[in-house]
Subunit: 509 residues, 2 copies
């Protein structure tokens, strides 16, 4: 642990902004095979109808808060017909999406304790009852449990104190002539980023409050064009720098509460992205002091990977030590190679800014070795695509990352990308995370119209499906996709999905 | 509301004394048709065995705290094998008795929300987790819920911060030559009183935290020979006096939190017992100031009942407006008559102490009318018993209360009591509340040996059945008796059962 970094991170702890949200209507989640996930929210009555009703054991209702929020729920309930002579027992089910509201058999691979459900016993109803835990939700189902309770209850108020460390007032308005769908996509992106921005950039506020380095990289660039919450990026950089593994490698993710600790996960691409986050931050802020402070940490990530280059100029452990994407059957070796080149180049730019000639040379040499290795051993001239692994797998991932790494010149990259789009290569982006890199490649190749088309086809499709925030997982061809075998446990407000704002505001405004 | 009284009650709010209790062993609740309630606690291993185990989803254990306690549970748990990357979900079941621990179908008539069960989600295990609600229990079952949780857990500590407003250091030791069983009964009585003594005298800390006047009367006399917690009695008197119904009648019970209010219940015998509590308190403390303050309130209770005497000198509404006892089929009219005489006599004694001649005459007159009415219309000379109601019901209750009321002289009372004991009258005491009155009648008639015999046969039998505190309901002939159709919802630490200490220390020490 580097206490100096951690203490600086601690000084940058943000205050959370609070806003009160109340439900906007009563709804009912009904099975509907034509609806997303097979569940449709039927619009119901005004919430005022709820507040005038006397409820008793067995009664159930669902309210819709109108949009996705992250915060603390408060209930104001009064007993009617008789004094409250016994505890009130409620079951509360919180859902980001309609599919989380009906009872379901959980068959997922993540811990079922992430399912946002509480059974609470309230001894005295006279005071507002605030649940101690934070939830991420739009829908709330309330079930009055128990039998033979002498009194009935009236709900007098239901509200959520939503929290975020983002300041919405700092966002510039889009141009009035912005395409309507892009404007809507921007709005949903911003909400996604806002709801993930807490004491750290969280991965997904429903189910994973950890700070992941791969997600931080994307959140940060989206933040620079929206909230400009620079201190939060800085704080997160300090946290990662403060909690390296013994050999200096940065963790993929960090638990920030209740005691800071790094996770056991080590992914080389994520470690290398420490360089990217610092690179982007420096380009955005010109903060030379921070760069100097974190330079050794950043360089160490490149150094560690440089020690894992084989005699052919190829990075080792591509399949096991890199994340790249959730994509069944993906061979990651070529993507890993490209990510090394991509981040080594950013590292070289930082060395240049610091005039660190020794490390500049070191990095130049490694970039050359890796680039030559890639062209010689991974690129198949005959078919015009990069291959990956022993089985020479073709994937969109390999091409996209090699384009981002700039292994070829711009025109060659653009041609490669066009070939890719027109190809029938089946292993393709299916997560917002990988889609981001695809869109970035399109912009890098000046294929703006294609970029817009794909942004609309992907994030726009989520908007059409009524997304309030962008989802962790989305495959337009398989709406039931879940890497955890449960659509209910998927995160529907997820850090790595918030980048359309970055594209829209950087390239299209 | 009489704010003056309530503000005095508030000034007398006691501080709660805290003691820490830890489980003494691991146990298992197993079905056993020979055991009380069909459930036997099998003694298991040392709790240290628990603390060394790694537990995971689906694991269940039960601990025994060794005795009945009332307080707040704290769990110290740490994740093992992996960081805590998801919430821990626990089901906690608290039991005063073994029968509450196994899962059961609730078929009771009281609200099932009284069943002491929680499902808690703990987001971060690093800090001790204290549940916000208070429980009354000896046994705690812990079930680790959820599926697919990556980490396991180790329990490091489990403790209950027990609370009471009683001060145990103030209790005098019994004589060394005290009968062993009586000493044990005294110990269990004291624990019962202690665990019911909180911010008010509670009825039963598991299920009814209200302050009931009928129970207060018995708790107070037990307290005078043990904790001498005079201020708590005084506070409770002020609470009742401060919250009368519009005609001045005192409520049977009071909710003391979160806002003071009286319950809608009005029972004439309970209202009249306000006089008894004040009478006993004055005899114990000689606090003439309090007597003066509360005299009008006390007298008003007698006055209200005096308005309900018919032309035969009999109190009306005996069946509907009096509690007397839980006893199926009991005709309460004669008991009601006796309770009026009993309390009017106490009221007369208070009037005498205050030299309030007008009210003395008023009460004398009423006592005469009621006594004559009782002897003339309720006593059947031929069979030598009091009868009750239109069907001339014979019950132990009628005889016991007429003896306590002193309608006859001492010798005649003693003869009546002996006839009763040797009779085959089937409607008899089956609750500790009514048993108390029976024992009091025995002492009043100088039948000390019989009193000891019956104390041992009743409360001693509970001790033999391993009672840590005395129960709300106990019928040696029907161990499954529950006025609520559920042995699990019965209270096993109940105010009105704590009086053996009063008898032992007043008459037998």
């Amino acid at each position: 642990m580097h206490d100096k970094f951690l203490s600086k991170a601690s000084e940058l702890m943000p205050e959370l902004n609070e806003t009160i949200h109340r439900p906007v209507e009563l709804v009912e989640a009904l099975p509907d095979k034509n609806a997303l996930h097979g569940v449709k929210m039927i619009n119901g009555k005004y919430v005022e109808n709820l507040y005038s009703q006397e409820l008793q054991n067995g009664d159930i209702f669902t309210v819709d808060f109108g949009t996705h929020i992250v915060g603390y729920l408060t209930l104001k309930i009064k007993p009617v017909g008789h004094q409250q002579d016994s505890p009130l027992r409620l079951r509360l089910v919180f859902g980001e999406m309609p599919c989380e509201i009906p009872d379901f058999e959980y068959a997922g691979t993540l811990s079922s304790t992430w399912i946002q459900e509480e059974i609470v016993n309230i001894d005295v109803l006279a005071e507002p009852f605030t649940l101690p835990r934070r939830y991420a939700f739009r829908y709330l189902k309330v079930e009055i449990l128990g039998r033979c309770t002498a009194y009935r209850v009236k709900f007098e108020d239901i509200y959520c104190t939503a929290v975020t460390s983002s300041d919405c007032s700092s966002i510039e308005k889009l141009n009035d002539d912005m395409d309507t769908m892009l404007a809507k996509i921007d709005e949903v992106s911003i909400r996604t980023l806002k709801n993930c921005s807490q004491e750290v950039y969280e991965d997904g506020p429903k189910r994973d409050r950890r700070l992941w380095l791969g997600d931080l990289r994307l959140q940060a660039i989206a933040d620079y064009v929206t909230f400009k919450n620079y201190n939060l990026v800085k704080r997160c950089l300090y946290l990662f720098a403060g909690l390296p593994h013994p050999d200096g490698q940065i963790s993929s993710c960090i638990f920030h509460e209740p005691t800071l600790s790094n996770d056991s996960w080590i992914l080389n691409d994520y470690s290398l992205f420490f360089i990217s986050v610092l690179y982007d931050y420096f380009n955005e802020t010109n903060d030379l002091n921070l760069l100097k402070e974190l330079w050794d940490t950043a360089f160490r990530q490149a150094e560690i990977v440089s020690e894992q280059i084989d005699e052919y100029g190829l990075v080792k452990h591509g399949q096991t030590k890199y994340f790249v994407d959730w994509c069944e059957g993906l061979d990651k070796n070529t993507s890993a190679q490209a990510i090394a080149i991509y981040t080594f180049k950013q590292c070289h730019a930082l060395a240049t800014a610091l005039n660190d000639e020794k490390r500049m040379s070191f990095l130049e040499e490694n970039i050359n070795v890796l680039t030559k290795g890639a062209v010689k051993h991974l690129y198949n001239n005959e078919i015009g695509f990069f291959e990956s692994g022993e089985r020479n797998q073709l994937s969109w991932h390999s091409q996209i990352w090699m384009i981002l790494a700039g292994v070829f010149e711009k025109d060659a990259n653009a041609n490669l990308l066009k070939r890719l789009i027109n190809s029938d290569i089946e292993i393709r982006p299916r997560t917002p995370y990988m889609y981001h890199h695809f869109i970035q490649a399109l912009f890098d190749c000046d294929m703006k119209e294609d970029a817009i088309k794909y942004i609309k086809a992907y994030w726009g499709k989520m908007v059409e499906l009524c997304a309030d925030c962008f989802w962790e997982v989305f495959d337009p061809d398989n709406l039931l996709l879940s890497p955890y075998n449960s659509i209910q446990i998927n995160s529907y407000c997820h850090a790595w999905s918030c980048t359309p704002s970055y594209f829209i505001r950087k390239y299209l405004s």
